[in-house]
């Protein structure tokens, strides 16, 4: 038995058991390791991916729930760092250890997909679920504003 879904636009049929957390299917079966394991209990956001455009914690999402859905991961933003968020992350030199940044980027991408001019409070609310022990929050915040400006077509 397999479960079919699309990841970053490509179809896959996963053989893992239906209750396997999506995180481990993405990492160990599909082989995309950008999505990270941080807490296993949807508390830290390191494993954030999009399912049909919505940010979800893949560590706590069973594989069965994504049958026939579209999953996107950090690798789906772009491979050549051309996504406005990736460019802004580089411009502001956001990552330190970098481990949580895939999740930060995916939460930010979900925010900007629906709101290209978020307020400080809206950014706070969208990003409060993504822990960074290196404390890159100030730069994450600034980079989201830069990316939003680019996506609006404004000067950063």
């Amino acid at each position: 038995m397999t479960i079919a879904f699309k990841i970053n636009g490509k179809p896959v049929k996963a053989k893992s058991e239906p209750d396997t957390p999506l995180l481990w299917v993405i990492r160990d079966e599909v082989g995309l390791t950008g999505t990270k394991f941080g807490c296993g209990q949807a508390l830290c956001g390191a494993c954030t991916v999009h399912v049909d455009g919505q940010p979800v914690r893949s560590c706590s999402t069973p594989l069965a729930l994504v049958a026939n859905k579209q999953v996107s991961t950090v690798e789906g933003l772009s491979k050549n760092n051309s996504h406005p968020l990736q460019k802004a992350w580089i411009k502001h030199d956001v990552p330190q250890c970098g481990y949580c940044q895939s999740g930060q980027l995916m939460s930010a991408a979900a925010l900007l997909a629906s709101n290209k001019n978020p307020s400080d409070e809206q950014i706070d609310a969208a990003m409060a679920g993504n822990i960074c022990r290196c404390g890159t929050y100030v730069r994450v915040h600034a980079a989201i504003k830069t990316a939003a400006a680019e996506m609006r077509g404004a000067k950063a």
């Binding site: 397999t2 893992s16 330190q96 022990r133 404390g135 730069r139």
Partner: protein
């Protein structure tokens, strides 16, 4: 077809990081022979690699790989170490590849006893001269190779942007010269640039690892994948120090995908074809524990024992000038205070993990560690193999903060792999495994007293701390020996005519580890809270009072004046906002902070933190700022929220719900001023962590009149104050 798709994905994810590159065998530079260079960059050199120095590898195709002998755990060495080498090598820093050093004596850290250890904010301080020298040596070797080739005087040649050029238009790339250069003796005293000529060092530089950290390609320990790899999950004793008495793995062994069950002294590991299968089968284990001496341990008992040790323990002298005890005993006005700091977990975002393969008498180790040569030696000893048969490849570290100095998880992986020979095994801890089996920041209790003179200044101070020696545990430092890692920043820079300081070592029961800024955290909390208390008793402004005691410390005084100016000290804050100040010299860095807080629901909210740092010469000012931002947030988590507590020997916090850390919406504005300086470089990975606690505590006093003498500074602590 879908299998093919999955394989394509897997191939894409793995091709970029295949295997090892062999250095160009015997090297006559005399520094390194037959080095095996792990390549972690996205592109490998196509040509043969030449190794004129342990720090520089140049391929025929002019791909230049520079070595970082320090582990990248977020602090920026993947960029700052190559910057130092590239400065004198005269190459484009943006075009170099970077690799982490394998274990090797040449990569030892002179500031940490020659160990190949990343810690103590030492990387730039130790590498600043050494790595520029290494770059200059290779540059001169390349020039000498060109001079031989063209039969000209080397002084007529220039090394520019990866080429050696001659007066008659001769030109050769470093790649074309590297083979010859590798045979030239290493010059001892190559010409070095004056700092005014630097074009890389001291300039803001985009980190070299950033591109790989925004598209998922950076390789952390968790991402290691070797052919035929299995996955392990380990159930460890719920009480630290406990061991397995017996276990029944019948059900676990029958579970899907399980390949092996391995009993270690401290736990039982399940090895399976996937991580999730290992985790599921682990739940089926039945284990009887011998919980050992800590079975009834509690935080309250640990604090009580530590406090009692202040009176009953053996004090180890740290500093003595004059007769401070007599002065305090006879003084008319005395300030006394006791301070407590809590236990804390490192809790890096990447839980402990490591990959090991044992194949006959050879061992392959891949994963994140702050101390690769110790890992190599310890695994060799544990498995009874020759040290040269143990290879160690370091990955990016998903945070460490001192946790990955210890390598308990590496030894576990090695033992599990030994019991599963011929197959690589990746051991992955869960977050609860990680949080309940840390080496914790030790708790501490300080007792301070000061005699206050007629002018309000302290005339004498007595100071004693009781805490646990990490260095005793980690390095076997004898109990009676002074432990420099318990007395960091212990002696205030203030002019105090008589002082007596000593340390009581007390083993409170749990295993303790080096936690970002180590004892600076406890000592700065006590000292900078206490001087604030003295200022209040003297009726003086906290900044003015400190300045009046810093006449002999011009760098510190200057930093304090600057932080006062930048933070608006002495001018009205926004309604409901209050400021607190703290300062310290640590890691050769002079720093002061002002925290601006308001009170909400009986606890402080931190709105703004102003930091001024004089850390001497800098390599990458942007990274310096990032490390200050990082340290402030890291310190705030523990200053405001988090604490590890023990009940019945068990750590009570198992994840980020119980161990609360600062989140995005709670992060303050952070204003930073870096003092321009040509003094020797200071460390910056840690000091700001230690100052934010007392700065906030002093702001809370300004806001409420309450002196909170313990961390975390939460509503409960305030209610008790």
């Amino acid at each position: 077809m879908t299998n093919k798709t999955i394989q394509d994905h897997a191939a894409t994810a793995q091709t970029s990081r295949r295997g090892f590159l062999k250095g160009s065998a015997a090297v006559s530079g005399g520094l390194m022979v037959g080095v095996v260079l792990p390549v972690s960059g996205p592109v490998q050199a196509a040509g043969l690699l030449h190794t004129p120095s342990a720090w520089v590898h140049i391929a025929d195709d002019n791909t230049i790989t520079l070595i970082s002998a320090r582990a990248e755990m977020g602090q920026g060495v993947y960029t700052s170490m190559p910057m130092l080498i590239a400065e004198e090598l005269n190459i484009d820093i943006q075009k170099v590849k970077v690799a982490f050093a394998p274990p090797g004596k040449v990569y030892g850290n002179a500031l940490l006893f020659g160990l190949q250890l990343t810690g103590g904010s030492t990387s730039v301080r130790e590498g600043y001269d050494k790595l520029r020298l290494a770059g200059a040596q290779v540059r001169e070797m390349l020039v000498a190779a060109a001079a031989n080739k063209w039969n000209v005087d080397p002084s007529t040649l220039k090394a520019v942007n990866g080429n050696v050029v001659g007066p008659k238009g001769q030109k050769a790339t470093y790649g074309q010269l590297a083979d010859d250069a590798s045979r030239i003796p290493v010059p001892e005293k190559p010409a070095m640039k004056d700092p005014s000529q630097f074009r890389i060092v001291g300039k803001r530089m985009t980190r070299l690892d950033t591109p790989s950290k925004v598209n998922g390609t950076a390789r952390f320990g968790l991402d290691v994948k070797l052919p035929g790899m299995l996955y392990a999950s380990i159930e460890m004793s719920p009480v630290q120090g406990g061991v397995v008495k017996s276990h029944d793995a019948t059900a676990a062994k029958a579970a899907k995908g399980v390949v092996n069950v391995v009993q270690l002294p401290e736990g039982v590991a399940v090895v399976a074809d996937t991580y999730w299968h290992a985790v599921q089968a682990r739940k089926l284990l039945s284990i009887q524990w011998d919980e050992g001496a800590n079975a009834n341990l509690s935080t309250a008992a640990m604090f009580d024992g530590t406090r009692a040790a202040l009176a009953s323990g053996v004090p180890i002298p740290h500093k003595k000038e004059g007769d401070a005890d007599a002065a305090v005993a006879s003084a008319g006005k005395v300030v006394r205070a006791e301070y407590r700091t809590q236990m804390a977990s490192h809790a890096p975002m990447e839980p402990m993990n490591y990959t090991a393969m044992v194949d006959g008498d050879r061992v392959q180790l891949v994963g994140p560690t702050q101390w690769p040569d110790a890992v190599q030696g310890a695994v060799a000893k544990l498995l009874g193999v020759k040290i040269e048969n143990v290879s160690v490849e370091n990955t990016f570290l998903g945070g460490a903060f001192g946790r990955r100095i210890d390598f308990d998880y590496v030894l576990q992986a090695a033992l599990i792999a030994k019991a599963t020979p011929g197959r690589p095994v990746k051991l992955v801890w869960s977050r609860p495994d990680d949080m309940t089996h840390d080496f914790y920041r030790p708790l501490s209790v300080h007792q301070l007293a000061a005699a206050i003179g007629a002018d309000g200044k302290p005339t004498a101070m007595t100071w004693r701390v009781a805490s646990q020696s990490i260095t005793g545990r980690a390095f076997g430092l004898p109990p009676e020996a002074p432990d420099g890692l318990m007395t960091e920043a212990a002696t205030p820079l203030y002019a105090i005519p008589a002082i007596r300081q000593d340390v009581v070592k007390h083993d409170a029961g749990v295993r303790v580890g080096y936690w970002r800024a180590v004892s600076h955290n406890m000592n700065a909390f006590a000292n900078e809270s206490f001087i604030d208390e003295c200022a209040a008793v003297a009726g003086k402004d906290p900044v003015a009072y400190r300045l009046s005691l810093l006449d002999a410390q011009p760098r510190m005084a200057s930093v304090l004046r600057q932080v006062a100016a930048k933070s608006g000290w002495g001018t009205p804050a926004l309604a409901g906002r209050f400021r607190g100040v703290a300062l310290m010299e640590g890691y050769d860095t002079y720093m002061a902070q002002v925290a601006e807080v308001s009170m909400k629901d009986g606890a402080p909210v931190v709105h703004k933190v102003t930091v001024v740092a004089d850390l001497g010469a800098m390599v990458n000012p942007d990274t310096v700022e990032a490390q200050i931002e990082s340290s402030v947030i890291f310190g705030l988590s523990t200053a405001l929220y988090s604490e590890i507590t023990i009940a019945k020997g068990r750590v009570q916090q198992t994840n980020f719900d119980g161990f609360r850390v600062m989140r995005h919406n709670e992060a303050p504005q952070i204003d930073i001023v870096l003092v321009k300086s040509s003094e020797k470089p200071g460390g910056i990975g840690e000091p700001a962590t230690a100052l934010i606690g007392p700065a906030v505590a002093n702001a809370v006093f300004a806001a409420t009149g309450k002196r909170v003498r313990k961390m975390p500074l939460n509503a409960e602590a305030l209610a008790q104050a």
